[in-house]
């Protein structure tokens, strides 16, 4: 989610040196991690599934296979940054740092012990420079007036940590129930979801240099979950809505005047270059899924195109991930319970993959099913993708 839409088109970098020898450092994705939250009440621990691009095989429960211990209850997000992967485990109040190649544990950080006692329930991750940022729901702090009337502050936090020492570099107060975060231009952007209460949702913008913050509030931003930024500072926000009349969708918040525009219906989003991918499931009056539409919004053309419509509800999408290098689109899907005919949150999930074709300028052109990874079995409760991006050095 740290991908800047317009700024960083491709990851390639080149480095000249004096010996007439040139080298290209080319980012390569080796595979995709899928973080699965498990199901605590069914005694199913959270896990990491890994799709290896070479073999097109999914290996499940990779964290525990490598470490002889489990992630525990309800991991929520993961981020590959440099050679490491960071996993935020909400239910355990831990941040697991592992080697992205081997998944061997490098450090388990008990967030409320190491970062401060308010750092409870880690939620989402982002990175910038030499720091990784983690959002926390935090804990309740009540104060009482002279009549013993309680005022309960419900602010969450974002903590910045050093990527080598894992020590706390900064702690920032966010709003109510922070979820997705992003850092751009030395500013931290936080989606304050308000736990779907719709009373005080907001977007926090915190200046990382001065620590000062401001809030964006808007009637359409009721349950923000994810945020990405353009170089110009425009915000693209996924908002889950209120599970009632306000539907889940992607909004643009203009940097200039904070004007909010709805771009498309979406239950989740991820992006690459100028493309925001999402999907949306329509339900009928009895909450039966009618169809799911897979769409992409392009920032340059400002148009939405549908690349797949699932009327059979083969896919019950849980989350979306876009490979930041080659731009393939992954959907993790839940399955139906044969008894209730509804989504089964305590069953293995499936991964679906679309190969995507982009124009020279990185604009979405078309998407096609990847038959090899269509319905591959993954872990229980999929919630976030992370991509195993490494670099190849090409000399010439």
């Amino acid at each position: 989610m740290a991908v800047l839409l317009m700024g960083a088109a491709m990851f390639t970098a080149c480095d000249d040196n004096d010996n007439e020898q040139h080298e290209y450092i080319v980012p390569v994705t080796k595979g995709a991690f899928l973080v699965c939250s498990g199901n605590m009440s069914s005694n199913i621990d959270g896990s990491v599934s890994y799709l290896d691009y070479t073999s097109n095989q999914v290996a499940n429960k990779q964290f525990q296979a490598q470490n002889g211990r489990s992630l525990g209850g309800t991991p929520n997000d993961a981020l590959v940054y440099g050679s490491k992967m960071y996993i935020a485990v909400t239910g355990e109040n831990t941040l697991e740092v592992v080697d992205a190649k081997t998944l061997k544990s490098l450090r388990q950080i008990k967030t409320n012990v190491t970062f401060g006692e308010g750092c409870l329930k880690p939620r989402h991750l982002t990175a910038s420079g030499d720091k990784v940022y983690i959002s926390f729901y935090g804990k309740s702090e009540s104060s009482y007036d002279e009549n013993w009337n309680a005022t309960t502050k419900g602010n969450g936090y974002v903590v910045a940590i050093d990527t080598t020492t894992f020590t706390r570099q900064g702690i920032y107060e966010a709003g109510s129930f922070p979820e997705g975060i992003s850092v751009a231009d030395k500013k931290l952007y936080v989606c304050n979801s308000d736990y779907a209460a719709c009373t005080k949702p907001s977007i926090s913008i915190i200046d990382l240099t001065t620590g000062s913050g401001s809030l964006i509030k808007n009637d359409n931003i009721v349950n923000p979950q994810k945020i990405v930024l353009t170089a110009a500072g425009d915000m693209y926000v996924l908002d889950f809505g209120n599970y009632g009349d306000k539907k889940s969708g992607v909004y643009k918040i203009s940097a200039k005047n904070n004007e909010v525009t709805r771009l498309m219906d979406a239950n989740d989003m991820d992006c690459i270059g100028s493309n925001i991918f999402g999907y949306y499931t329509e339900f009928d009056a009895s909450y039966k899924p009618v169809k799911t539409t897979y769409q992409v919004y392009n920032l340059l053309s400002q148009g939405t195109s549908t690349f797949y419509t699932d009327t059979n509800n083969e896919i019950i999408p849980a989350c979306i991930g876009v490979d930041p290098v080659v731009g393939t689109v992954f959907i993790a899907s839940n399955v139906k319970n044969a008894d209730t005919d509804k989504t089964d949150y305590k069953a293995n999930s499936k991964i679906f993959m679309f190969n995507v074709e982009y124009s020279q300028h990185g604009v979405f052109v078309s998407a096609s099913k990847n038959a090899k990874v269509w319905g591959a079995t993954a872990g229980v409760g999929p919630c976030a993708f992370a991509f195993n991006v490494t670099t190849n050095v090409i000399k010439y």
């Binding site: 009440s41 005694n43 199913i44 525990g72 388990q108 804990k139 309740s140 419900g154 736990y195 069953a347």
Partner: protein, 672 residues
């Protein structure tokens, strides 16, 4: 022993005299001390539907340590226990969920209109005279209609009042145990005249519950202690009985319960931070009046007013968004009329009315004020001749559901409708036949059809509730044999063996529409096929030495029968063990009485899908009890020591809720 027998006689004569039909024939009045135990046994043997009873003496000689342990000793029972003194405990019988089990307290059904489940951790055994479990409807027909409205009923009967002499009686007890457990108990009782008696009970439990546990984490083991687990609970009761004449009697009870506890919550591998607290308060007043006219007519009326408050707080949840308080009220009245025209026939008509309502503090929970009028009527006929006993019952239930004070709001997700009204007719039949003229060998068979209506949570809870729900329907068939052979003057034995088929239709299950919105619907069928076996054997070597054996075993195949196409079809339902067993050996002697006892169950799945590697292992939990009773003059002292979980077995009944390991408990009881 003498003390117990005396009190049980008193109880049978005074309480049950009106409660059971065969007392009409005034058999009870001829009871002698020696026959008391026999009479309880006889009730179990001749019951037309499975009946298990446990009086104080049984509990002592079986080494029963608390309510949860008592329930573990009964066959057909699956207890759900979240661990420790403060952990919620609910009871499911023969594959039916806990919401199908009714619990009565001194003859009046307890209710929880919000959750539909009674938390039995609230009731300690110190003030209990007898526990009994009836599965289906048996030949005890002179009961309120509501007692017949569940598939099984657990009756908690508290200590009776004295009636034969005027002196004040005082019982004091102090219990102490591991993990900061202290519980003083005080009871005062006195008969002021031949007709009027009063008792007052106060008990308090303080428990830290910070027991150590181990939980397996792949190849490692996490060791920690429960935190945020303190409990401070008190209970007070005032009872009176006024019996101006052998044929009529007024009883009353004022009850107050207050439990302020921290909830340690689910166990995680790497964190034990929890800030949840729950404060329960329950107050009720109940009165009963019974009158009998000759040996032909008897009337029993009951009235009760109940108030229940539950305050939940999570100090770690930002903005205190999960905090919620709930208030329930109940007004209940019941009348039962018994008519015994001949010695063969008995008939009962019972009519119950109750009003239940609920309100809550949180818009994320219960928004309006739902309420329910319940009108239950039953007609029961019992025919008894020679070796036959037959009963048939027809229960008519009418539920009128409404809600008021629903906030005017634009929200489309607020439940503004009322749950469906319901009207149903539920039949039951049961019979018992004495197979041989001079052997205590009985064959019994019973059928019962009953339902449970949706709870207020299932109907109205924010997002989760649905007002479109239909009741959950159940059928149960039972066939069994009971036998008490004449072995010798010194050896008595009793065996009960029952097999059953139970069915549940239209189960109320919460299903997701998305990860955040779950709603109850009627889906799913369950079939249980099982066996319950119970035995009790006593042998007296001589005047001073005796051996008592008791055991129970249950086989339950509780299977998902929803969809034959489903991979889950015929799989064992979550949290239902296939095998459950318990046993105890007591050695009574002049020095110190010793009991070794055990309860256990086979493995269970925490989900209906049997997701690989989630199985919860089976266990056996042993306990050792030693007690000594000393009498000097009017003073009676009982000293008891228990080692619970003798072999320090680490196990869970509910996934991620480990149970305590080895622990001790001592109690000193003094009676005057």
């Amino acid at each position: 022993m003498k003390k117990f027998n005396l009190s049980i006689i008193a109880m049978l004569v005074s309480v049950s005299a009106m409660a059971q039909t065969d007392t009409i024939t005034s058999r009870v009045h001829q009871l002698k001390e020696v026959t008391v135990t026999k009479s309880q046994r006889k009730r179990m043997l001749t019951s037309t539907a499975p009946l298990q009873m446990m009086d104080r003496k049984d509990m002592l000689t079986m080494g029963v340590t608390d309510m949860a342990d008592a329930l573990h000793r009964m066959s057909g029972v699956t207890l759900r226990d979240y661990g420790g003194a403060g952990g919620m405990k609910t009871v499911a019988v023969r594959g039916f969920g806990a919401k199908h089990t009714g619990v009565s307290y001194d003859g009046v059904m307890l209710s929880d209109c919000q959750s539909g489940e009674i938390d039995l951790s609230r009731y300690s055994l110190d003030n209990v005279a007898k526990l009994s479990l009836v599965i289906g409807d048996n030949d005890d027909i002179f009961i309120p209609a509501r007692q017949a409205a569940s598939s099984a009923v657990l009756n908690i009967q508290t200590l009776p009042l004295p009636s034969d002499e005027r002196k004040p009686h005082l019982t004091s007890q102090l219990k102490m145990g591991s993990f900061g457990y202290v519980s003083p108990y005080l009871r005062y009782e006195q008969s002021f005249s031949k007709a009027f008696a009063v008792s007052a009970v106060a008990e308090y439990i303080y428990a830290e519950n910070d027991y150590p546990y181990e939980i397996r984490n792949v190849k490692t083991v996490t060791k920690d202690r429960r935190t945020n687990s303190l409990m401070s609970s008190g209970h007070g009761e005032l009872n009176f009985s006024w019996q101006p004449h052998a044929t009529n009697r007024l009883t009353g009870k004022i009850y107050y319960y207050d439990n302020s506890r921290q909830l340690p919550g689910i166990v995680h591998y790497y964190t034990n931070v929890s800030g949840e607290t729950l404060h329960d308060r329950n107050f009720f007043v109940q009165a009963g009046y019974q009158k009998r006219w000759g040996n032909t007519w008897a009337l029993k009326t009951i009235a009760k007013v109940n108030w229940y408050e539950s305050i939940y707080h999570d100090k770690l949840m930002p903005g205190a968004v999960n905090d919620a308080s709930y208030w329930q009220r109940e007004y209940y009245a019941s009348a039962a009329l018994l008519f015994v025209p001949t010695k063969h026939w008995a008939m009962d008509y019972s009519a119950d009315y109750s009003f239940n309502n609920l309100n809550g503090s949180s818009w994320r929970a219960i928004i309006g004020h739902p309420f329910r009028h319940s009108i239950l009527q039953s007609v029961t006929v019992k025919y008894q001749t020679g070796r036959w006993v037959m009963t048939g019952k027809l229960l008519h239930s009418l539920f009128i559901n409404r809600q008021k004070n629903v906030e005017q709001t634009d929200r489309t997700d607020v439940q503004i409708n009322s749950a469906r009204n319901m009207r149903r007719l539920s039949p039951s039949l049961s019979l018992s036949y004495k197979l041989l003229e001079d052997e205590e060998l009985f064959l019994r068979a019973s059928y019962k059809n009953i339902f449970r209506s949706p709870t207020f949570n299932e109907s109205y809870y924010y997002h989760y509730g649905s007002t479109e729900l239909n009741p959950e329907l159940t059928d149960q068939w039972n066939i069994g044999v009971t036998y008490s052979p004449h072995l010798s003057r010194y050896t008595t034995a009793m065996f009960m063996f029952d097999s059953y088929i139970n069915k549940v239709k239209d189960m109320i299950v919460a299903v997701p529409y998305n990860m955040f919105v779950w709603t109850c619907i009627n889906v799913g069928n369950v079939r249980s096929i099982g066996i319950d076996a119970t035995m009790q054997v006593e042998h007296q070597f001589n005047k001073a030495h005796g051996l008592m054996l008791s055991g129970s075993y249950s086989l339950q195949k509780v299977q998902n029968r929803t969809n034959p196409e489903s991979p889950n079809y015929n799989k064992q339902i979550a949290y239902m063990p296939q095998h459950t067993a318990s046993g105890s050996v007591a050695y009574e002697n002049p020095w110190i009485n010793l009991i070794l006892h055990a309860t256990g169950m086979s493995s269970r799945w925490p989900n209906n899908e049997h997701y690989p590697s989630t199985m919860i292992e089976g266990y056996v939990d042993f306990g050792l009890t030693a007690y000594k009773q000393i009498h000097f003059g009017n003073h009676h002292v009982e000293i008891r020591g228990d080692i619970k979980n003798l072999f320090n077995k680490q196990y869970c009944i509910v996934a991620h809720y480990p149970m305590p390991g080895r622990s001790w408990m001592i109690s000193i009881n003094y009676k005057l």
